[in-house]
């Protein structure tokens, strides 16, 4: 089973790549027999431009594109530039053959300065992968600069996303977390007081 991550971080070192690695580590933990590959789009910048403007596709680019097309599950991570995925990120998926990602489950990740841009995932990445007929999973992972100082909340989201991808590629149904995130008309008690007190120190899952 192949899991491929496409990471479009522009800098080196890159927090986009850092996020990608963090998500991959969580996925690998849950799928110990999977073959994992990271495609760092930065390395293919020139090749992608050449492929876009002249149609000529280098061998190494072809290999990377085929790896992505071959994946049972994909992790796509971009920095947020000007409120959207970066041009470099988009270039990869523009060059990829149409239909390559049909029905492939995808985890979407993004990095940015503050949490105010987190909806760039919902509003720019989701429509892109919908068009590609992939299946973006509803567990977006956004990392703001501040998350690297205190990753508790980020890690909670990474864990939920990794659970979802692992279950999806294994054909299982994910039971989502036990925490009731929103008030509702369901008064089912899900933990005892002692369990709740023991968990007070853990970061929120939102």
């Amino acid at each position: 089973m192949k899991i491929v991550a496409v990471s479009a971080g522009a800098a080196n070192p890159s927090s986009t790549r850092k996020l990608t690695d963090r998500v991959l580590a969580a996925v690998a933990e849950r799928l110990p027999n999977a073959e994992i590959r990271v495609i760092d789009v930065r390395e293919f910048g020139q090749d992608l431009l050449t492929a876009t403007t002249s149609g000529l596709r280098s061998d190494r680019l072809t290999a990377a594109l085929e790896a992505a097309a071959d994946a049972a599950g994909l992790i796509a991570v971009t920095p947020v530039f000007n409120g959207s995925y970066s041009g470099l990120f988009k270039l990869f998926f523009d060059v990829l053959d149409e239909g390559s990602l049909a029905n492939v489950p995808v985890l979407l990740g993004a990095t940015g300065g503050t949490a105010r841009h987190s909806l760039a995932i919902d509003q720019t990445m989701v429509p892109l992968f919908f068009y590609l007929r992939a299946r973006p999973l509803p567990w977006p992972i956004y990392a703001a600069t501040g998350d690297w100082a205190d990753p508790g909340s980020l890690d909670a989201r990474v864990r939920q996303a990794a659970d979802a991808l692992a279950a999806e590629v294994s054909g299982e149904r994910v039971e989502s977390g036990r925490v009731r995130l929103h008030p509702s008309h369901d008064f089912t008690l899900t933990s005892s007081l002692e369990e709740m007190l023991a968990n007070v120190g853990r970061a929120e899952t939102v």
Partner: protein, 382 residues
Amino acid sequence: MSNPVQIGVFSVSDITTDPTTDRTPSEHERIKASVAIAKKAEDVGLDVFAIGEHHNPPFFSSSPTTTLSYIAAQTERIILSTATTLITTNDPVKIAEDFAMLQHLADGRADLMLGRGNTGPVYPWFGQDIRNGINLAIENYALLHRLWRETDVDWDGRFRTPLAGFTSTPRPLDDVPPFVWHGSIRSPEIAEQAAYYGDGFFHNNIFWTMSHTRQMIDLYRRRYEHYGHGAYHQAIVGLGGQFFMRPNSQDAWREFRPYFDKAPVYGHGPSMEEFTSATPLTVGSPQQVLERTLGFREAVGDYQRQLFLIDHAGLPLKTVLEQLDLLGEILPAMRAGFAEGRPTDVPDAPTHPSRVAAAGGPRDSTRYAEPDAVTGRAVEYN
């Protein structure tokens, strides 16, 4: 001589324009009015007056124990309480101190109801985040519970800076902490907390259907029994409610309608007809209020405290005092109604004297400074 079911009134301290005159009372007027309401409540024979806590306009009650102490000094029998004290954004140390003070000043005529508060912006003003509401409620109460029962407390939690060897003062009156009601409308976690400690559970019973209220109280009762504090039917339950009455039912409808339609919380939503049929709000004659109130037991079982929101929606003081007179007139029938069919093993509403008796008698828990072994003088703390 105390009543098995405590009946009383509460205010959330809103400052609301009277929709029939377009006049808005000042903070000073509303503050003084709340004292007048409490005194009138005692005069007509009610058992409890409770006030809310808010930290922004259009409310005035940012310092409930100050107000309640002032009222305690001018009354003799009525129990002073809150609806609610914020267990989320207040420092539990301050709650322990303020309410122990009130308890002493009021000679035990004080208890409190804890709530989380639903005003988002208030949380960051006090260094917190509303999304941590439940965690705050349970961690802060765990500390408060200890502060009233232990001295030299060491504490290290998530939300408050640590404590080392801390004793809150004054110690509770007679070494018996004020009784705590946990108020919640829709959070099973709070019903669970109330049950765990054997404290009371209060449902405001205002904006929701009785079936909603019933489910929450059922959960609390089951967990109360689970934790070994007593049987299901013996848990300590309180309900809110609201009414507007006139001797003639049509007069009540006509008079209250503009208040209802423009009220900050009710207005511009379901009609008064829909609201009064779906929720416990009762608009009508005293007899209707009496019957509706006595009917609540069918949903929640025999309970210990019934409070009514008395001054909401811009009702002028004169009208509120008239409502209290009318309530006073049906009070004996209400008490008799509550007593009818009440099993003898359902506990009475808790009071300070009953709790002291249950604890085996009063104890002076003052921490006296130890005298110096050399000079024989007590240590002075500067």
